[in-house]
Subunit: 362 residues, 2 copies
Amino acid sequence: MKENIKTTAVIMAGGRGERFWPKSRNSYPKQFLSLTKDGETMIQKTVKRLLPVVEKEDIYIVTNAMYISLVKEQIPDIPEENILAEPCARNTAPCIALAGAVISRKYDDAVMLVLPSDHLISYERLYISTLKKAILTAKEGRNLVTIGITPTYPETGYGYINFGTETSSVTEDAYKVERFVEKPNLETAKEYLASGKYLWNSGMFVWKVSSIMENIKNLMPDIYEGALKIKESVGTDNFDEVLEREFQNFRSESIDFGVMEKAEDIYTISGSFGWDDVGNWLAVERINEVDSNRNYIEGDVISINSKRTTICGGKRLISAVGLEDLIIVDTDDAVLVCSKNNTQDVKKVIEELKKQGRTDLV
Amino acid sequence: MKENIKTTAVIMAGGRGERFWPKSRNSYPKQFLSLTKDGETMIQKTVKRLLPVVEKEDIYIVTNAMYISLVKEQIPDIPEENILAEPCARNTAPCIALAGAVISRKYDDAVMLVLPSDHLISYERLYISTLKKAILTAKEGRNLVTIGITPTYPETGYGYINFGTETSSVTEDAYKVERFVEKPNLETAKEYLASGKYLWNSGMFVWKVSSIMENIKNLMPDIYEGALKIKESVGTDNFDEVLEREFQNFRSESIDFGVMEKAEDIYTISGSFGWDDVGNWLAVERINEVDSNRNYIEGDVISINSKRTTICGGKRLISAVGLEDLIIVDTDDAVLVCSKNNTQDVKKVIEELKKQGRTDLV
């Protein structure tokens, strides 16, 4: 019985990705960009790497209504009804509740992988074997499984997962979660690393639809109620209308705060599969090959004596002379030249553009 | 008699100005660019600042044949016959011989100011009073007068003029030149400055047409011969043909080497009128006002935490985040991002473009 349960995947693709401005825009966020030389977009890679464990008709993509056409264009071969449109941004909990509602209408029960659409994974075979362990663990009882990433340095930009010694009955690689912790300061991050008991929270979850819906029912009954109404309308003429109304009524809530920090029976499986959240322009040199001067150069570029510089060219020539530790990104209507130490300030450019009312550039 | 002699000006506008790439191109060199916020081009400023001492119909512009239409467009109010087309580049001596030939056909004799078209002068009133002294000195006998710039630091990129104690009979401000010296090394430049006997060679000359032509006759008889043939053809149907033929036969020679380093009766008048040869992109922050972070910013730019950076925007937004000591220049088909320490390497970009056969960008 357990063995026959289907595996589905929910890809969350509603994010804005302001940190990749000027390539990413409100109308064209990071998950729809290619940041690697192979030309594949982040979401295309996300779907492709899943295919060993999930069939195409069981892949669901939840995204903001305004990105539906982008999803259809980039992922043409999954069923149209699997592309779910959020009428507004409500964080991850309503997104997962919506997907759970739709999947639970199709299947009595199913395993549900919940995955971000804009991360990168270098070792796909290791990723798949980690997913398989997580799927096995999720099938057991009411387990909620989260994929934790084995940290390689004391990152202060991620939340961490503290795990204990108890393991699941299915695999010794699934450890019981003690608690989820917020982004630490550097000192704490170093302690986490030294302890060997903390993993990075990657935002990848695996559970049975029945398990997550029961947790949503208990921990966020208001959201559960809306999700039920959506579920009842699946396949009817009212679906779009009900989805729109109920989704707008949802409060904004993350699945981490709404469920994971409160639920029981959470296990984590550590993954070491070259995960990168591709958080900002600094990632480009990590996820691509650099030249002998440690430059990453793409497009029509002439570089003279430049080092450790990332250049993403557009339609025009970019000439880089004597540069060090810079990021240059060219698009048709905007160029970014940014010091590697200041990538967090790219959002200030966007703020300024908003202030100036230049929505075409945001 | 002396008092009635006309003052004419010859503006040399044949240069390429590769160091202002990508704004300057083979087809659009520096003298035709505006590098100041007022929008006036270098050559327009050069003509305008002369008007207190030279009438428009006595201003001659010598330029490469391919820039004739640019000159006519930017300087529409001087007589068309005063715009002289060099069929090829032959340095300053043939340029001056050509202008001397044409002017000596119009006037029995005249004072001739010889001026670069692509320098900047901040204190125009002081400039005019220096020119007036030079004109007076040039009228006396066979004097050749050169305007020397009082150095403000030990520049190694200019030639120097070593002057003695003897002054002209017309003004005590015109000193007899001992010798012209090539670009010195830093140590020598410092000695020059300390001695108080060296001025920068600005390439501005003042002399009677009769004086310079006699010197050319004596020191460069081959060039003189060609110039005579051109003179004879002025006003005839053959002028263009003769000019083209004779000019192409000229050897390439600078007036400094061909005349100034060999002639007698040379005087220099020191000028302190805020001269700037606008030699490369570093000049832009010198000749314009900078903001409180010492940035010079022009065009559509959003700057966040940037310092001592020069940005010349084009049609698109440039966002500068956390930059220091950079030069950014945007044009329709090329962007330059250059460290201030490497402006001399801009020419390497041009070399690379030539190697790639991309003449449209050069």
